[in-house]
């Protein structure tokens, strides 16, 4: 909690002002530098190839919207794929997280500790360990080159943090809340739907934003298990598109990057609080 108490000492004012000006300048410099790649991306995406080769730093004389046209024509299908697949995966993750969080947070049953450890242990095991077997297993399960090969492993790993966060949020509730409901004759399923779920809402929205970004950004796994270009996710498709442009159409290449960034940018604009909470949620629990 920050409290605004006025400093009573005089003479500090000038010094304080100078300090604030200096840190403002430093912050602006750092911010500008970290925005350089984004600026490069956006500006270049509007330039023609000739402009790019002539003067890299110049602003585009005329906005080359054809770059976007070009990129969108190739990538719109993949973008749609990604939005669909990520939406399905996020919804399923939320279901698993809400249910699991409720079970571990509000219910009592033999073996609870062990079962929770089974979930928790997964957080400590790096994905690279089971990358190889899973690559073969999805072929064995006959879901290779289908969206299920993405969704199922995603939600399987993605549920864990969600369950832990939901459990924590439920455990923070007064303990007799569910007891009372039980005495009133409320079964576990009704408890879940009418009491736990509404209370889990805030943490679920954080989990949703967090997992959405995680799934959206995944690159290696889609590249491995999805072969058909028309089923491919945007991250991989952009790379393929980018490589196909070579040095011929750099503007369109960057327009592709912008297109791939836009959904997350929009998400961030609308949910920046949850986005930031999600970012730190993983760290805080550790």
């Amino acid at each position: 909690m920050t409290r605004n108490r006025k400093y009573q000492k005089g003479g500090h004012h000038a010094k304080e002002l100078r300090f604030q000006v200096i840190i403002e300048i430093i912050m602006c410099i750092i911010t500008f530098l970290s925005f350089v790649p984004i600026l490069v991306m956006v500006i270049t995406s509007f330039k023609s190839n000739v402009e790019i080769y002539n003067d890299f730093f110049a602003l585009p004389k005329k906005l080359m919207l054809s770059n976007y046209n070009n990129a969108f024509k190739t990538l719109s299908g993949n973008m749609l794929n990604t939005l669909i697949v990520v939406a399905i995966a996020v919804v399923l993750t939320l279901v698993l997280a809400a249910v699991g969080g409720y079970v571990f947070g509000a219910m009592d049953f033999p073996g609870k500790k062990i079962l929770f450890l089974i979930f928790l242990a997964l957080m400590m095991i790096p994905g690279s360990l089971y990358l190889t077997p899973n690559y073969i297993l999805v072929q064995k399960y006959h879901i290779f080159n289908t969206w299920w090969a993405l969704i199922l492993p995603w939600i399987s790993g993605g549920q864990v943090l969600g369950i832990v966060l939901c459990r924590n949020s439920i455990e923070q509730l007064p303990g007799d809340l569910f007891e009372a409901a039980k005495l009133e004759g409320c079964g576990p399923l009704r408890c879940l739907f009418y009491i736990a779920l509404p209370l889990e809402k805030p943490i679920l929205s954080t989990v949703a934003v967090m997992q959405l970004v995680t799934y959206y950004n995944d690159f290696i796994w889609p590249m491995m298990v999805v072969e058909s270009n028309n089923k491919q996710m945007i991250t991989v498709a952009v790379r393929i598109f980018s490589n196909a442009q070579g040095t011929v159409n750099i503007g369109a290449m960057f327009a592709g990057y912008v297109i791939a960034t836009l959904p997350i940018f929009i998400l961030f604009m609308f949910t920046s609080r949850m986005y930031m909470e999600g970012l730190t949620a993983g760290a805080v629990k550790g």
Partner: protein
């Protein structure tokens, strides 16, 4: 009370009985899940051609590696002969008791079936690909290949007189009689052409892919094409039946066979698969051998086959369609057997005095909380199939030769620590580890400096609105997906149009420009420099949150004591942020070990192996080299390193709490 006990005993007996029933069912059906039977014939060499005489029960096998032809009866060798080349096809003239064998040394040898005396040698003087004998057993059709595409067709009588000779510019893969006076040949343009003895073309059929093999079964000609489709033609070249193997494995067809009645078709592939299809062209059975399947023959309802290895086997097509069913039953009965065994075990426990009470209590509790288990089932199942199963596999297979070549349980062999030794001899791993070390050190420095400075600056800024704006702007660049960011940096490093070289040229330092990612000396540093100025949004937020948590009170009391900002930062804030540092350090180190997205996009480990890291090596071994066992071993090493850091962090956290 006694009644209850009796009932328990009854249930126990029932459970044991069920267990036995399912065990018997399991063993019975499992023994009927194999249609393949070994013929017990061993040539000690690589086989290539096969013929079977049902009347005398003689199998003829031609080999590839030592140019032998063998005749077997009841698994005993009857006779053998050696030629100068590999035997390509063997056919029988049953009524005459003769064996006609085409050989790649340019001859057709005719043997006596019973004692193996060489009756006649027909010098064709070209590599013989395929032979056939007509039904009246007075003519032999031969197809040959010279070089790679010049083919000839000949018809001889049994004295070696040439009756017909045809030149072809297209590679012919098989020849067969379609009547006493006509014969057909399949070529790699996908045509099956019919000729008469004068060499006139009578007609042809077009398939879409090259004909791989062609043979005659009674009055029908069976051909298989490169895409796995097969055709049955009558003597007038009319297609009487056609179908296609379901080729999801993308195996390359090599040979084709049927049983004598032509009910089942077997398509053999280079990869050693045999796909058996029934009359409705539905796949009913699949066999997998280690070597390419070269030749088929028929014995009544059985299909005999051999391939480029030392085996001759028989597929019994009687009841072959039951096999899939039997496999299912055996699986189900196995599960039921285990379940009834468990039930019997539990019932047995109940009969021990004292246990029932405790067990009943536990059971009661579990039953009461059954909804909890039911709700957890989906999540647990997913984790089993997509995480834990893989984890167990990885640990076990890290010690095996698992690879694309050794992909069946039979082929996967335990090889001890060979995979781990390989890491130190191949060199990629060692380079990768030294790169990784560099990335870990620089990663640690990056995550402990810039985000902290940013958090402190933002925290020190006056005015909530200003704080908010700067916090927002520091975090905003995270919206660019990691791989997109890497692709932008790839362009920033571009030697021709890249920002860095352009900038250097502009400020007159063009002598410093270079191919940043293509130069082994600078590549790894370019990878490290990517993401400059390293405002890690997560670390920034964690530190910022930490600073807020310390609170103004502490600061103010320090100010009263005469401390300035500098002192407060070093003496109060940094020590109090230690938990945040530890968390970020742990996450960064683990993340750095696992992540290879950026390196994959920037350099793919190159130039040479200059920017390899173990995780990238793992990925390449899975997706490109197919060396799964080795990749698993790398995964295990990465797991151990991750675990070490996690445990260290855990221990530090614990000791702090005490």
């Amino acid at each position: 009370m006694n009644k209850w006990k009796n009932r328990k005993l009854l249930f126990l007996i029932l459970a044991i009985a069920l267990c036995i029933v399912f065990a018997v069912l399991f063993l019975y059906t499992r023994s009927r899940t194999e249609a393949v039977e070994d013929m017990g014939i061993s040539t000690g060499a690589m086989n290539n051609a096969l013929a079977y005489d049902a009347e005398n029960d003689v199998s003829l096998v031609g080999t590839n590696s030592d140019n032998m032809i063998y005749a077997y009866k009841d698994g005993e060798q009857l006779w053998a002969d050696q030629a100068k080349g590999a035997f390509s096809q063997i056919v029988l003239a049953e009524n005459k008791g003769l064996v006609v064998a085409g050989n790649q040394d340019g001859n057709v040898y005719i043997y006596n079936l019973e004692d193996g005396t060489l009756v006649q040698t027909i010098p064709v003087q070209r590599r013989v690909v395929s032979v056939d004998v007509n039904d009246s057993e007075d003519e032999i059709a031969v197809s040959t290949l010279t070089g790679t595409s010049k083919a000839n067709l000949y018809v001889y009588d049994f004295n070696g007189e040439t009756l017909t000779s045809i030149d072809s510019k297209v590679k012919i893969s098989g020849v067969s009689f379609s009547g006493d006076e006509t014969f057909v040949a399949g070529n790699n343009r996908g045509e099956i052409i019919q000729y008469d003895l004068e060499g006139n073309e009578l007609g042809s059929v077009s398939t879409n892919y090259s004909v791989i093999q062609l043979f005659r079964n009674g009055n029908e000609i069976v051909a298989v094409c490169k895409d796995g489709s097969y055709y049955f033609l009558d003597e007038n070249l009319k297609i009487v039946r056609k179908g296609k193997t379901d080729n999801t494995l993308q195996a390359v067809p090599e040979s084709v066979g049927t049983d004598q009645n032509g009910n089942y078709v077997a398509v053999g592939t280079q990869e050693g698969y045999i796909f058996v299809l029934d009359k409705k062209d539905e796949p009913v059975y699949t066999v997998q051998e280690d070597q390419s399947i070269a030749s088929f023959s028929a014995d009544g309802s059985s299909i005999l086959y051999t391939g480029n290895g030392d085996f001759v086997k028989k597929i019994n097509t009687d009841g072959i369609s039951d096999i899939t069913r039997n496999r299912k039953i055996s699986k189900v009965s196995f599960i039921l057997m285990i379940l009834s065994m468990i039930a019997a075990g539990i019932l047995l426990l109940f009969l021990i005095p004292g246990v029932p009470g405790k067990l009943a209590k536990l059971g009661k509790e579990m039953w009461k909380a059954r909804m909890a288990y039911i709700l957890l089932i989906p999540g647990l199942l997913l984790m089993w199939f997509f995480n834990y199963r893989g984890i167990f596999t990885a640990f076990v297979r890290a010690f095996t030769n698992w690879s694309t070549e050794n992909n069946t349980l039979a082929e996967i062999q335990f090889i001890g620590l060979d995979n781990f030794k390989k890491m130190f001899t191949e060199g990629y791993f060692l380079t990768g580890m030294s790169n990784l070390l560099l990335l870990l050190v620089t990663g640690a420095v990056k995550v402990l400096t810039v985000p902290l400075i940013c958090a402190w600056l933002c925290y020190s800024a006056s005015g909530n609105k200003r704080k908010y704006v700067h916090r927002f702007l520091f975090v905003l660049p995270i919206v660019v997906p990691g791989v997109i960011s890497a692709m932008i940096w790839l362009k920033i490093y571009d030697p021709n149009i890249g920002l860095i070289n352009e900038l250097l040229t502009k400020i007159g330092l063009s002598n410093l420009t270079r191919v940043w990612l293509g130069d082994a000396d600078t590549a790894i540093w370019a990878v490290i420099f990517m993401g400059f100025p390293f405002v890690n949004a997560m670390a920034f937020l964690v530190y910022y949150g930490g600073l807020l948590g310390i609170g103004k009170d502490v600061e103010e009391s320090a100010v009263v004591d005469g401390a300035n900002r500098w002192n407060i930062f070093w003496k109060i804030q940094i020590p109090l942020l230690r938990p945040q540092f530890r968390v970020m350090l742990t996450l960064t180190l683990i993340g750095t070990m696992q992540n290879f997205n950026e390196i994959y996009i920037l350099t793919q480990g190159g130039p040479g192996k200059a920017t390899y890291v173990p995780a990238l090596e793992l990925y390449f071994n899975v997706s490109q080299f197919g060396r799964y066992g080795y990749a698993c071993a790398l995964g295990v090493i990465l797991f151990i390193m991750t675990m070490a850091i996690t445990l260290l962090n855990l221990k530090l956290t614990k000791s702090k709490d005490v």
